[in-house]
């Protein structure tokens, strides 16, 4: 028997807000909310842990499957390095996306920005400036594209979905124009060597270290700084944030800029990883990043974001892909299974959270 939603009530006096119930009504689910927030407050910390634990549980289940089906190939250092490396690029993008979603926005252009930054940074002209030239260009192009998104959304008043969709089209077009469809091979040794085992630090690939650094910094920003506080506030209740004196528009601008920055960093990492820049890079990153963030526990409607959850989400997806490949599953089966696993993971998670609640 499904239980009707205990109509969680909004504890406020009469809302005479002329702009109406806005998006909240749209988000009220017909089904019972898995996390009730009524009752004891201090449980919040615990609840977040429960969510993280449930994600870790899903991950553990995957590791178990991997270990059983392919004990030799799955459970070794090389594969761990591989999974983490594969997770790095999309992981960095997801950290930026988590901020944007937490603020109640969305960024569909991340994949296109990665593509644009990666091809711009690998043109012959840029490569002349060596390592610094490539790294700098990738980051700057990402930031610039993010800035355009931010201005359109924060000051142009465009819906994030449409503004970043337009950026998706334009950035991919520009990337294609720059490369003419050709793969731009990197010839700068210092960049190339960063992706090779020689430069692993204590067995950890530099790309993984970069991912870790972005994660830690992202976590600190979201949880320990005014910027993070404001991001949550804007996503939770933009009007309240405005009345509290937060410059909501500027905050939004910064957030899309941050997402662009992450894409720039990810583009550089992808250049290192693949030794090249190509306009098809970052294909469908937008869906992957959003999915990882949501699975991780960030609310698509804004107001709650978790970097740890997002990173776990990315790791879950990467591990799934890894296990599929190790087991030599073909594309069709992989896709069908992926859909089924997503559904199963979410439903299991819902159950866990509900269980933890009582």
């Amino acid at each position: 028997m499904t239980q009707p939603a205990p109509s969680a009530r909004h504890n406020g006096p009469d809302k005479e807000d002329p702009t109406g119930p806005g998006r909240a009504g749209a988000t009220a689910p017909a089904a019972p909310p898995p996390v009730k927030t009524g009752g004891a407050g201090p449980a919040l910390g615990l609840r977040l842990d429960v969510r993280v634990l449930s994600l870790l549980g899903v991950l553990a289940a995957l590791v178990l499957v991997g270990g059983i089906t392919e004990p030799d190939a799955f459970l070794d250092t090389g594969n761990l390095q591989l999974i983490l490396t594969q997770a790095s690029v999309i992981g960095v993008v997801t950290v930026g996306m988590t901020f944007v979603i937490t603020s109640g926005g969305i960024d569909l252009s991340v994949g296109a920005m990665v593509a644009l930054a990666s091809v711009w940074a690998t043109t012959l002209a840029t490569q002349e400036y060596g390592f610094a030239g490539i790294a700098f260009t990738a980051v700057i192009v990402g930031v610039a594209a993010g800035l355009v998104n931010g201005v359109l959304i924060a000051y142009g008043g465009m819906v994030p979905f449409i503004a970043t969709l337009a950026m998706l089209a334009s950035a991919r077009g520009l990337a294609l124009m720059i490369t003419d469809g050709k793969t731009q091979i990197v010839t700068v040794d210092s960049v190339l060597s960063l992706g090779l085992p020689d430069s692993y630090i204590l067995g950890v690939p530099p790309l993984v270290l970069m991912f870790a650094a972005v994660t830690v910094i992202g976590w600190l920003i979201l949880n320990r700084t005014t910027f993070g506080r404001r991001t949550v506030a804007v996503g939770g209740n933009a009007e309240a944030a405005r009345l509290a004196g937060i410059d909501v528009r500027r905050q939004r601008l910064y957030l899309y800029l941050l997402s662009g920055l992450c894409c720039g960093i990810a583009a550089f990492m992808l250049i290192v990883l693949s030794g090249s820049g190509q306009n098809t890079n970052g294909n469908l990153y937008e869906l992957d990043a959003i999915a990882a963030a949501i699975i991780g526990g960030t609310l698509l409607s804004g107001g709650r974001g978790t970097i740890v959850g997002s990173v776990l989400g990315v790791l879950i997806f990467t591990t799934i892909t890894n296990i599929f490949a190790l087991n030599n599953l073909q594309s069709d089966v992989q896709q069908i299974a992926k859909g089924a696993i997503i559904v199963a993971a979410v439903l299991v998670q819902r159950r866990t959270l509900r269980g933890a609640d009582t």
């Binding site: 927030t37 009752g39 919040l44």
Partner: protein
């Protein structure tokens, strides 16, 4: 008294929204250390005026003088910097953030300008909450898990977290219990003693008497009276200024001989309970009868109503309408059996804000106007109009967008929804919250008339006089338990408050 220069002067403030002239040349003058009350009907422009003062709206015209100096308040920050803090009518808290985070939102204590010092924020918030008489609120708790009253305290703590000279409070008492209101007034007294001025908005005129120094009355975006003495002006005059007519601020008479005493109960609730919310409740409602539920905020009254209605699933017990037992946890079963609910949160729980009055009224009876799903829009509009006319909803135009109506009229639209549906039992949760005096009197009359027409009404209200004045029978609730049942005539306010608070932990 030597005429000190006023702390604040607002003169000739105008402000228009698309299609509405919300403020039409309003003047306001506030002295340091006074409690200045702002009165007016729903939609008179009170909130708009104070949003202008808070820097949240930019006025179209007029001047603001602050401590003798003409100022422009370009943003909420600009107002806060000058020492003007505001507690908004719509709670302006971010539910996902903790109490401390909300209190210091926008001016967090930081290291290096951007790293939040969480510990410092928490202890400072704790101190503020203690000063407000609520040391029990944990600064680390997410605000979304607090009760409405507690959220109100957090808003207050936020206002006090600034170095203030003027605090604006927009209907702070709407969500508070009588003893909470007493506490609020103690805080206000403390503030004014320190020379802080308070602008106080409320629809409860008795509160104005208790703490107000002077009164400004707004009507249709104009100040019709400025700086009247709060003590000396008769209530009748104030109401007349607000509404432009004489309103009998009294409850409609109870019928001499109600069918209630004789008729079969239409609603029978037996042993209904919800774990953690309320203990088993027994309750019978007869046609024509108004039963009131009195209790403190958080005593579980809304939960009882929503459980009867099927919006929450009962742990034990049954609900029977006219002899037919309802399926547990099914709103549709309740509606089909003839129960209607006017929920506590009109905007969040009842209204389709982007829609017209007609559509809001007809939403529960759509199938009545439809053949094979095809809506007879003419019939729908006519019937909706009939229902709203019966309740004299204004404006009398069924195509008006519901969001443009005043609170009282929105409430009437919700009642009209159930009138149209033709229900037998009406559950009313805080039907007059945020509703002005004039509309309130009308609502009372409407509710009584519906009962006289044979409806059974179950009424929840935090205002004890309202329960006593309107209901025939009163159930007193404490911590989820019915502790007393009596005819309304046998109770008075003090007796109810004693019952309600007896044995409850001192706040």
């Amino acid at each position: 008294m030597a005429p000190e220069p006023p702390l604040l002067t607002m003169s000739g403030i105008t402000k228009s929204f698309p299609g509405v002239r919300a403020l039409d040349g309003v003047d306001l003058e506030v002295q340091a250390g006074e409690v200045h009350c702002l009165l007016g009907q729903n939609g008179a422009g009170k909130s708009t005026l104070i949003k202008v003062l808070a820097g949240a709206h930019q006025p179209d015209g007029g001047e603001i003088t602050w401590r003798g100096e003409a100022v422009r308040l370009k943003s909420p920050i600009a107002a806060m910097r000058r020492g003007i803090a505001t507690i908004y009518q719509e709670l302006d808290l971010v539910e996902g953030l903790s109490v401390a985070e909300n209190v210091f939102l926008g001016h967090e204590p930081t290291s290096a300008g951007f790293i939040v010092r969480t510990g410092e924020g928490r202890s400072a918030a704790k101190a503020l909450l203690a000063r407000l008489g609520h040391p029990e609120i944990d600064p680390a708790r997410p605000v979304g898990s607090l009760s409405a009253a507690q959220q109100q305290i957090v808003s207050m703590a936020r206002a006090l977290s600034h170095d203030v000279r003027l605090i604006v409070m927009d209907e702070p008492s709407a969500a508070l219990d009588p003893d909470e209101v007493d506490n609020l007034f103690r805080i206000v007294d403390g503030l004014t003693a320190d020379g802080v001025a308070v602008v106080y908005i409320s629809h409860r005129l008795e509160e104005i008497r208790r703490i107000g120094d002077r009164v400004t009355v707004l009507k249709d975006g104009r100040a019709v009276a400025v700086g009247l003495p709060a003590a000396g002006t008769p209530t009748r005059d104030i109401v007349a200024m607000m509404t432009g007519r004489d309103v009998e601020y009294v409850f409609p008479p109870r019928p001499e001989e109600t069918a209630a005493t004789t008729a079969e109960p239409v609603l029978r609730v037996q042993g209904l309970s919800r774990e953690g919310e309320f203990a088993p409740v027994d309750l019978e409602l007869r046609p024509g009868e108004i039963v009131g539920l009195a209790g403190l905020v958080g005593s579980g009254r809304s939960e009882i109503l929503e459980t009867i209605y099927g919006a929450r699933r009962a742990t034990t017990g049954t609900v029977t309408v006219a002899g037919q037992q309802l399926r547990n946890g099914s709103v549709r079963a309740a509606v089909a059996a003839g129960i209607g609910l006017a929920p506590e949160e009109r905007k969040a729980q009842a209204l389709l804000m982007t829609e017209s009055v007609t559509r809001n009224v007809s939403v529960s009876s759509l199938s009545r106007f439809a053949r094979l799903g095809w809506i007879d829009r003419g019939g729908e509009r006519r019937s909706a109009r009939e229902a709203t006319r019966e309740l004299s909803l204004r404006p009398d135009n069924p195509d008006t967008l519901i969001r443009t109506l005043s609170g009282g009229n929105q409430q009437k639209a919700v009642l009209a929804r159930w009138l149209l549906r033709g229900c037998r039992v009406l559950l009313l949760d805080e039907p007059t919250r945020g509703v002005d005096v004039g509309a309130r009197a009308e609502l009372y009359a409407v509710i009584r008339r519906l009962a006289d027409d044979g409806l059974a009404v179950l009424l929840v209200s935090s205002e004890v006089p309202e329960v006593l004045g309107l209901a025939d029978r009163v159930l007193v609730l404490r911590e989820g338990q019915v502790v007393h049942t009596a005819p309304a005539q046998e109770l008075d306010e003090h007796r109810v408050l004693d019952l309600v608070m007896e044995g409850s932990p001192t706040p």
